[in-house]
């Protein structure tokens, strides 16, 4: 009898909900697990010994250098802009508040194509420079985009909005009382920023930064195009050019270690501090109006960030596209392919995200396996997951051809992005009162009824944000698609990459612009939603 009583309160680990969550977790985690397994267990052979002695150090150091430089640039772009936009009033603040998120719409590889063209010796910037000064190309130094700093700049431009968003939220959430207490203790605006606001916002800034840097480490398209030998490029080359999947898997282990390392550093940097929020006596600080001179200086600074990260490269692509005409290449088919794949991937990832989010609310076991698998999938670069899928294919004897490959691709998309979709769904639950489940129980709802009548509808309130995020991310995905797509079945990202790699930038512009335009709508929507949420919170 005691056992019956116990079973009503401590469900055995493998009840139906836990089993379904476990199945979802296996589906999400299998590719990364296979890639890791093959990398650790599988022998690398002579090719691996050769890579170790010739290129491994180079790949690793280059990847770390790109990460370090990108981190510095992201902090430079994101933190001051977030600070001024959140807590100061200056000309154009309302515009910059949402416009600084726009670079999220353009993937790093698109910015790389645009900057490589714009900053080329024959490009418009250097031409204008020579026209204005009368110098020849040999008379001056100009930054080289095809370099580690060039790649870092491009990646920072594309990804700084992650840190900008988290920093902006953290600065907006600073307690007025804390700020006023610091002021009453004689803190200057500079000290207020450095010693009060920045330490309080540090965990949030690091969270956004870690996410951006994981994406940087995972990038293949921009690094490959700019000729920077990162680990991602090495993995692709080992698999594609040298047909050495075991070597690729070993390199993938290193890349995963770097991604986990970034997460670990983020945890440490987060520390035990953070923003103290007490619900009752808490007010958002009022924005400080900057003087005319400093106000315009800040506006110019924000404009510069926006120009460099988004306006100049996108304008250059539009220009090239207009110059050469829009009829370059076949665009309808890749467009439809991209759309189909992003929709199918979003749907799969959404279902998985919903499963692990609801599972997490049922018991701790489901919470652990779901979050662990989704976290591992998100941390693993697309290239690694694609490699894992290829190992599974070869292990099971399937071939990468026809619709089967597309199913695998949808699976990899889902594995990579489920965590991103689970986040808004989780947020929807956290906004709902904790006692909802008990209220439903007291009204006679069984476990299944609670799932259908309470949990699902509550989670669905975060569905639109989840769907938007998933769709945009999948539209931009390049390396996994490049590795797993059926022969002659291109998406916009693959087509743009292929044209750009063939030095046919004019042809690459249209697919690049289409990806950016398709991402722009959802990003603007998300940006306005976030801005409005911030405004209503400040008003309340």
């Amino acid at each position: 009898m005691q056992a019956i009583r116990a079973s009503s309160f401590h469900p055995p680990r493998l009840n139906p909900v836990a089993l379904i969550t476990l199945a979802a977790a296996c589906l999400i985690g299998a590719p990364v697990a296979f890639a890791l397994f093959t990398g650790v267990i599988g022998g690398g052979g002579d090719a691996w010994t050769h890579i170790v002695s010739t290129q491994l150090l180079g790949y690793t150091m280059t990847t770390l250098a790109v990460i370090a430089l990108t981190a510095a640039l992201i902090l430079l772009f994101a933190v001051p802009t977030a600070w001024f936009v959140s807590l100061n009033e200056f000309p154009g603040r309302g515009f910059f508040e949402w416009a600084l998120i726009l670079p999220l719409a353009a993937p790093g590889y698109v910015l790389a194509y645009a900057w490589a063209d714009a900053a080329d010796v024959a490009g418009p910037i250097q031409s204008a420079l020579r026209d204005m000064t009368g110098l020849s190309a040999r008379d001056y130094w100009f930054p080289n985009v095809y370099s580690v700093p060039g790649l870092s700049f491009v990646m920072a431009s594309a990804l700084f909005p992650y840190a900008y968003l988290t920093a902006r939220a953290a600065f907006s959430n600073l307690s007025l009382c804390t700020m006023e207490a610091a002021r009453s203790l004689g803190a200057s605006p500079r000290r207020l920023f450095l010693q009060v606001a920045l330490p309080a916002a540090r965990p949030a800034i690091f969270a956004g930064l870690a996410l951006a840097l994981m994406e940087t480490a995972a990038d293949y398209g921009a690094a490959s195009y700019l000729g920077v030998q990162t680990l991602s490029v090495g993995i692709f080359r080992a698999w594609h050019s040298f047909s050495e999947p075991a070597v690729a898997a070993r390199l993938a282990v290193l890349l995963i270690l770097i991604a986990f390392g970034l997460q670990f550093i983020e945890r440490i940097a987060r520390g035990r501090g953070g923003i103290q929020q007490t619900a009752t006596r808490w007010r958002t600080p009022r924005r400080q109006k900057l003087g005319a001179l400093s106000g315009w200086a800040v506006a110019i600074g924000c404009s510069l960030v926006l120009l460099l990260s988004f306006v100049i490269p996108v304008t250059r692509l539009i220009w090239v596209s207009a110059e050469t005409g829009l009829g370059q290449g076949q665009i309808v088919r890749p467009f439809l392919n991209s759309l189909t794949l992003a929709l199918a991937g979003s749907a799969a990832a959404f279902v998985l995200a919903l499963t692990i989010t609801i599972g997490a609310r049922q018991n701790r076991f489901s919470q652990f396996v779901g979050r662990f698998a989704a976290g591992a999938g998100y941390a693993a670069p697309g290239i690694v997951l694609a490699l894992g899928a290829l190992f599974i294919l070869s292990w099971t004897g399937f071939s990468v051809a026809g619709p089967a490959a597309l199913i695998f691709l949808v699976w990899i998309y889902a594995s990579r992005f489920t965590a991103a979709g689970a986040e808004p769904l989780n947020a929807a639950f956290s906004r709902a009162p904790a006692s909802l489940g008990n209220a439903a129980r007291s009204l006679g709802a069984s476990r299944f009824q609670r799932l259908v009548r309470v949990d699902l509808p509550v989670a669905m309130s975060g569905a639109s944000a989840a769907a938007i995020i998933l769709f945009v991310e999948m539209l931009k995905e390049l390396p996994a698609t490049l590795m797993l797509r059926p022969f002659n079945w291109d998406t916009l990202a693959v087509q743009a990459f292929a044209y750009a790699s063939d030095e046919r930038l004019a042809a690459a512009t249209l697919p690049s612009l289409l990806i950016t335009a398709a991402g722009l709508g959802p990003v603007v929507l998300l940006s306005l939603q976030l801005t409005r949420a911030g405004q209503s919170r400040a008003a309340g």
């Binding site: 009583r5 009503s8 909802l436 439903a440 009204l443």
Partner: protein
Amino acid sequence: MSNLQPIHARGVTRRYDGRAVVQDASLTLEPGKITALLGQSGAGKSTLLRLFAGLEPVDAGDISHGGIPVSTLSKHVPAEERQIGLIFQDFALFPHLNAIDNVGFGLTRQNRKERRESARHWLDRLGLSHRAKAYPHELSGGEQQRVSIARALAAQPIAILMDEPFSGLDVTLKSEVRRTALAAVTEAGIPALLVTHDASEAMRAADRVAVMSDGVILQEDTPEALYLKPVSMSVARALGPLRSVRRGALPENWQSKVPPSETYCLRPEAVRLDPAGDAMLEVVAAQRTSSLIEIELKLTDTETIHALALGPFTPKAGDKLAVSLAPEFVFTAPQTATA
């Protein structure tokens, strides 16, 4: 089971990690009566409520409804089968349903039309028929709590359990919401439990009050009896302010009115401003708190007592006031009142 049956908890214990958070608690919830469970945070009130609701099992003792056991060591009727209504401090309204659908949530045995009518009736009963289509985020705190009470009552529960239901409300809303809500609960004629840490709310709203501390029910009685005849100083303190004084500090002619003891605890009502009073005491400080004036009176250089007064004028420090003693408000440690 009829709805109008008492619910008994007998010797109920609940342990977390070996530590008893509810210890040997016995309490009866009578039909048509509101029983308040009063105590500080961590006293075990909410846990006892959860045991009544079936959200947790008992580790000892039993709970029965109309003589039929629902929680024992060997049997546990889960919450969803108990038909016990729950009201939470955070309202727990389903955010995806409007007010009328929230109220109709538990009415699964009725068809759509009946459910609507029933939900509308309960919204009307709680003065919310005009807000039927509003979603929780569009309702004020008071309205949300009234919807949650309508939702619980619409399901025709055998009892209703309320966990600090009015704590989240604005002071100005609280009394109005409480009055409407508790009237509806009483009218339903079912047993009701009100968990609160507010002594004045417990005494104002409940027919009976159980005082709880460290997982143990110290005393259960009518508010009047508890206030005037607490069985311990802990109970006396839980119900209102007390001031402790030595026997030697009391005016001599008051000492004969109270039983022998080293120290006494006095409620503010024990000292009355009385022109024919048998003692003159000096005012140390006086403060008006809306309709009442709180006065601190000097007994010795180190001891003072409190008095409450009605009237238009607030005395000043140094004034001498004639006062008399009401011994029914004087308690001797550790036991009962002197009256």
